[in-house]
């Protein structure tokens, strides 16, 4: 049917997902996970949005946090589950097949840290707004929102260079991992608009990838 042969050869398998991420981040994925995970402290409650095959979830759990990982892809979750069992982290991690629009089921102010690596760029604009609003609600005051994602460079020249580099890259990632993405425009501004305080931003040289540490403000009375 629908000539799925072509598609099949490159079918989106979870193993290829990790590959796709590596290509998009130009091999810096490990680095990104490690540097973001360093903000997680032992005993904290962490929500990993779009946990995929568990790269971030596992790092947070290794640091002693209690992690809930959510993703919409049951196959990825299956892989994540196997990795977690292998590392004996099962008692600190729970995984759910759940999308961002179900975050309204989470209790208010119940997480110390929320992470989202390469997932916001996969959302539609409506979903992104919804997610930022809900993350703000479920974070404890002073809690951290750790984001890493593809963004549209601000500098026009860099935007052009980025586009030239990305075009073939996009094709490869699509073929290998069936992963398309839409870099986000003005990610830091969007976070600020949603009420977050930006603590630190690390931008890649081409300005096409950022790591953001954002904080939910403390309550004013405190």
């Amino acid at each position: 049917m629908c000539a799925y042969v072509l598609m099949r050869i490159f079918e989106s398998s979870p193993k290829k997902y990790d590959w796709g991420i590596r290509i998009i981040t130009l091999g810096k994925a490990e680095n990104v996970y490690d540097s973001l995970a360093s903000h997680v402290k032992s005993g904290q409650r962490v929500l990993d949005i779009g946990c995929g095959t568990g790269n971030m979830t596992i790092r947070a759990a290794r640091r002693g946090a209690l992690v809930k990982g959510i993703d919409v892809n049951p196959e990825m979750l299956e892989i994540a589950l196997a990795k977690i069992e292998k590392e004996n982290l099962s008692d600190r991690v729970e995984l759910h097949e759940m999308s961002v629009v179900e975050l309204d089921k989470e209790e208010s102010e119940s997480y110390d840290v929320v992470t989202a690596v390469l997932v916001l760029s996969e959302l539609t604009t409506h979903e992104l707004d919804y997610t930022l609003k809900e993350v703000m609600r479920i974070l404890k005051p002073g809690g951290l929102f750790l984001v890493a994602d593809e963004v549209v460079p601000r500098n026009r020249l860099k935007r052009v260079i980025n586009w030239i580099i990305r075009a073939p890259l996009l094709l490869i990632t699509y073929l290998v991992a069936q992963r398309t993405s839409h870099p986000i425009k003005n990610l830091p501004e969007r976070l600020e608009k949603a009420g977050f305080i930006i603590e630190s931003i690390r931008v890649s040289r081409l300005e096409n990838f950022v790591e953001v540490v954002a904080r939910k403000p403390m309550r004013e009375t405190e």
Binding site: Y4, I79, E102, T124, H126
Partner: protein
């Protein structure tokens, strides 16, 4: 303006059929909808959205465009891209809940292999109604009080779609082969391109012949799948016709010679094979020969069946009939089944399942979760 966009979408998406072309998700107002107007949903493949919009022009309703990553409804639902999550997300974030007073949503029937009506109801309160397979039947479906005729439920492979597939198949292949030949054997480029396009058209124009041959044979094979041999015989046939046509043209232009014919034969035999390698996989009515799960068979546990007719309603091949006396579903046309899994996914009492050739049962939960169907073995095995 909208006509122009419709045209561009059709041309572009036909040429690049195998590439997802996404468009914006969200809610589109058609006509002047009010609080009681119907709500329809489709995927965010650009061409589909344009076609649906055209089909329902003049009807006051809301059209929700859900995220399927730019892939058409059928491939996306069977392949796990148009899922429960896509539907829940669009219902919750598009603002449709404030626009209408009711909670009924009409989904394309071909989404039934990927979206579970039960889960949508549980998580959002919306009732799923399975609409027709093709958008052009939507107006009649609405007029008929949301009743479908067997014809509206069935997937077909009409001439128009066969022509589209010929173009969609010939275009990328001629691009690749043409480019290679341009650098390696420039002389061969034009003949090769002529051969690719004509063979592609011939194959799909004469496709009903393949169907007839394959259907006769598959009554005799246990799971009803035509075999690779059928494709081979048919390819030879198409190849023969092509050589015949070439000879006629050469005769008329006075160039006929054995050498010429042999040369054409050599070029086209390889191309015929390349083009027809997965002939069945290119059609919506057979399964690809390359998939491991083509050998699954479907079974009904009649003790569990409650006679709800859901399977009959979602099967795109009209495989089911109801035994009115016993109030259970019977599979009357098992050899027509393409293993899309829609019936299994939707059956409310888990009365349907797949059986593997080795006798093992694939339970409905697994099929629902991993979209195990004709698109392949999606269940992961983690070592």
């Amino acid at each position: 303006m909208s006509n122009l966009r419709y045209l561009v979408a059709n041309v572009l998406c036909t040429l690049l059929r195998f590439i997802p072309i996404p468009c914006r998700t969200g809610v589109i107002k058609i006509g002047n909808p009010g609080r009681d107007s119907p709500v329809l949903l489709t995927c965010n493949y650009w061409l589909t959205v344009e076609r649906v919009k055209k089909a329902i022009r003049g009807i006051d309703c809301y059209l929700l465009v859900a995220n399927s990553r730019g892939i058409n409804v059928w491939c996306a639902s069977a392949g796990g891209h148009l899922t429960n999550h896509s539907v829940i997300s669009i219902l919750k974030t598009s603002g449709i809940e404030e626009l209408v007073g009711h909670r009924n949503i009409i989904l394309p029937q071909l989404a039934a292999s990927g979206i579970e009506a039960k889960v949508i109801k549980e998580k959002t309160g919306w009732n799923v109604i399975w609409g027709p397979v093709y958008a052009h039947d939507i107006p009649e479906f609405l007029r008929n009080n949301l009743k479908k005729t067997p014809n509206m439920r069935e997937i077909k492979f009409p001439l128009r779609q066969r022509l589209e597939i010929s173009v969609a198949w010939a275009f990328p292949i001629s691009l690749i082969i043409g480019l290679i030949l341009f650098f390696v054997f420039p002389k061969l480029m034009i003949p090769a391109l002529v051969a690719i396009w004509s063979l592609s058209f011939l194959t799909f124009l004469a496709f009903p012949l393949f169907s007839r041959m394959a259907d006769r044979r598959r009554k005799r094979t246990p799971n009803g799948q035509p075999r690779f041999l059928d494709t081979l015989i048919y390819s030879l046939f198409v190849w023969g016709i092509f050589i015949l046509l070439v000879s006629i043209v050469e005769f008329l232009t006075g160039q006929l010679s054995w050498i010429e014919i042999l040369r054409w034969a050599a070029i086209s035999v390889i191309l015929t094979f390349v083009l027809n390698m997965d002939l069945m996989g290119l059609t919506p009515i057979y399964r690809s020969e390359f998939l491991k799960d083509r050998l699954l068979t479907i079974e009904i546990n009649q003790e569990k069946c409650i006679g709800c007719r859901t399977c009959e309603n979602v099967c795109p091949r009209n495989c089911y009939r109801m035994d009115e006396e016993k109030n259970v579903a019977v599979m009357v046309e098992a050899e027509r089944c393409i293993k899309c899994g829609a019936c299994i996914v939707q059956c409310p009492s888990d009365a349907l399942y797949f059986r593997r050739p080795d006798g093992e049962i694939v339970p409905p939960e697994v099929i629902r979760k991993f979209k195990l169907n004709f698109i392949g073995t999606r269940a992961v095995r983690v070592e």
